[in-house]
């Protein structure tokens, strides 16, 4: 049984205008699946649909085998699905500590204990606890956003381009952290533009082009596979 799965998901922002046109994928516990594809392919839209932020017109989102398609977005973290969106993924007007404690108490956890646990996992954050999140560096923000998504010990974690805009040193740090999270048995769906780095880290890769899945294979062998640039470029010529 996969920890997180999408079954023939059709989703979009306006009724009758699907962006994701029947996409299926699944991620097992302790597995990292890279979701790749050209710009505008619908990767973020699929992730947001699975998080409950974009309406799903048809199809289903499954978390540990149970259908969560109708579960409101604000209950999904508690149910075991964490999502780190691409931009504005921390509350800039709240301190680091408040960012964590808010999600913890909303998930019904003891906010002190949950916060301390995350500080144990991300010692950098402990140091920055009293800083407003708006003043963190890009890498520190990603840490905080991931920590917030991990608080409730989710079965699955989705990240939308966590490396975007980060210096190479931070990218390495973020990816190393994801490897650690995988160790804990969490299923990770990683949307990435940085194809090479993602394929090196991930177990499997799903390539989305124009809202449909065109490739779903083990990640490593895809490094240098000529089909990848063809899919990416083909879409660009198509557009």
């Amino acid at each position: 049984m996969s920890a997180l799965a999408a079954r023939e998901v059709v989703a979009g922002y306006e009724p009758g205008l699907p962006i994701v046109k029947g996409a299926s994928l699944s991620v097992a516990g302790g597995e990292i699946v890279a979701l790749l594809g050209p710009n505008g392919a619908g990767k973020s839209t699929l992730a947001k649909a699975m998080a409950g932020l974009v309406p799903v017109a048809s199809g289903a989102v499954l978390l540990q085998g149970s259908d969560i398609t109708a579960v409101p977005a604000h209950l999904r973290l508690k149910r075991g699905l964490g999502f780190v969106p691409q931009t504005e993924n921390v509350f800039a007007n709240l301190t680091v500590r408040e960012n964590l404690e808010l999600a913890a108490s909303l998930a019904g956890l003891d906010r002190r204990a949950a916060r301390e646990e995350m500080f144990g996992f991300f010692p950098d954050l402990a140091r920055l606890a009293r800083l407003e999140a708006g003043r963190l560096s890009g890498g520190q923000r990603q840490m905080l956003a991931v920590a917030r998504a991990l608080l409730a010990k989710p079965a699955a974690l989705m990240l939308d381009e966590p490396s975007a805009g980060l210096s190479p040193r931070y990218v390495a740090e973020v990816f190393a952290m994801l490897a650690r999270v995988r160790q804990a048995g969490v299923a990770i769906l990683l949307v990435e533009q940085n194809v090479k780095a993602a394929l090196e880290l991930a177990d499997r890769a799903v390539v989305l082009v124009d809202g449909t899945v065109r490739l779903d294979e083990p990640a490593r062998p895809l490094l240098g596979d000529p089909r990848l640039p063809a899919l990416f470029l083909g879409a660009r010529e198509h557009a």
Binding site: G52, A73, A107
Partner: protein
């Protein structure tokens, strides 16, 4: 001079409390609510109505040096939820439905209409003549003799309004800083989608924001009635100062709205010797224009 400052701070307290509610709903619901002033009016009149019921014709025995007695506080406690109920009802009937498929500006028009309806409903029910919570005459205490900066006289009621405003603001600050609901309100104002991801039920947070904004408006309305008159236009006349204060402090910034309210109160107060009492409101307008020209994000606002 001192007297002008004191008068400005008293008006400013009312403006501060109103502006805090306005800034909260503005940042969370993302539209300029022209009906917020009417919540002050309704708060003041509902308190008056409950006071009438509680007293049932009897005299209100004043507490200590103040002009009013316990029944007024009891009436206020009843008026708080009633004012909140009005805000929730308007939101339910109008704003929530329009927000689903309208843009922010349709909401502004709707709030303008709702304001007019609410204000005229007050006129319909209570008439246009000014009312008072008590006819008790208060003797102003001389705090500073006349030869020091023009001296300072202040009534016990006015002092109480200042103190209670400070207390309410501190309580609100503690609520927003330490309670989960308060933090969820700040988080939702910043980024509603992310708030949902963090587990906040945004609809519930919005309702809480209306309740708190309306309760603060109710308190502000009663303070305005206590230090002045209760009139159908009282909230409408405060609307420009409220907006000026909220924008001055930066939309969404509670402390900013408090400071903004006090500054607006002082600006109005200092307009009196310059232009005459009838032009008080021009002081608010001057503050509004100045902040819009110089720093439209407000004194303490971070976001554009």
């Amino acid at each position: 001079m001192l007297q002008l400052v004191a008068d400005g701070l008293i008006v400013g307290s009312v403006v501060s409390l109103g502006a805090v509610g306005l800034t909260l709903t503005y940042s969370l619901l993302r539209f300029a609510n022209f009906g917020h002033g009417e919540l002050l009016t309704w708060g003041a009149y509902l308190t008056l109505a409950f006071l009438g019921l509680l007293l049932a014709g009897a005299e209100m025995a004043p507490i200590g040096p103040f002009s009013f007695g316990w029944p007024l506080l009891a009436a206020l406690m009843l008026a708080l939820p009633a004012t909140a109920a009005i805000a929730l009802a308007v939101d339910w009937a109008l704003f929530r439905r329009l927000a689903r498929h309208g843009n922010a500006i349709t909401l502004v028009i709707a709030s303008f209409g709702a304001a007019l309806a609410l204000r005229n409903l007050v006129q319909f029910i209570w008439g246009t003549l000014p009312e008072y919570y008590t006819r008790e005459i208060q003797i102003a205490i001389r705090l500073v003799p006349r030869d020091v900066l023009g001296g300072l006289r202040i009534t016990p009621d006015q002092l109480l309004v200042l103190a209670l405003t400070a207390a309410v603001v501190v309580l609100l600050h503690l609520f927003l800083s330490y309670s989960t609901l308060g933090r969820a309100m700040r988080a939702t104002a910043m980024n509603p989608a992310l708030a949902r991801l963090a587990g906040a039920d945004v609809a519930k947070v919005a309702r809480a924001t209306w309740v708190i904004g309306a309760a603060l408006a109710c308190i502000a309305g009663v303070f305005a009635g206590l230090t002045g008159q209760i009139r159908p236009m009282m909230g409408f006349d405060l609307l420009l100062p409220l907006f000026a204060a909220a924008i001055l402090g930066g939309i969404g910034n509670v402390w900013g709205a408090v400071i903004g309210g006090l500054i607006v109160g002082l600006a109005e107060s200092f307009t009196v010797p310059l232009l005459g009492a009838e032009y008080r409101a021009a002081g608010s307008f001057a503050v509004l224009i100045a902040i819009l020209l110089i720093r439209p994000t407000g004194l303490f606002g971070a976001r554009a």
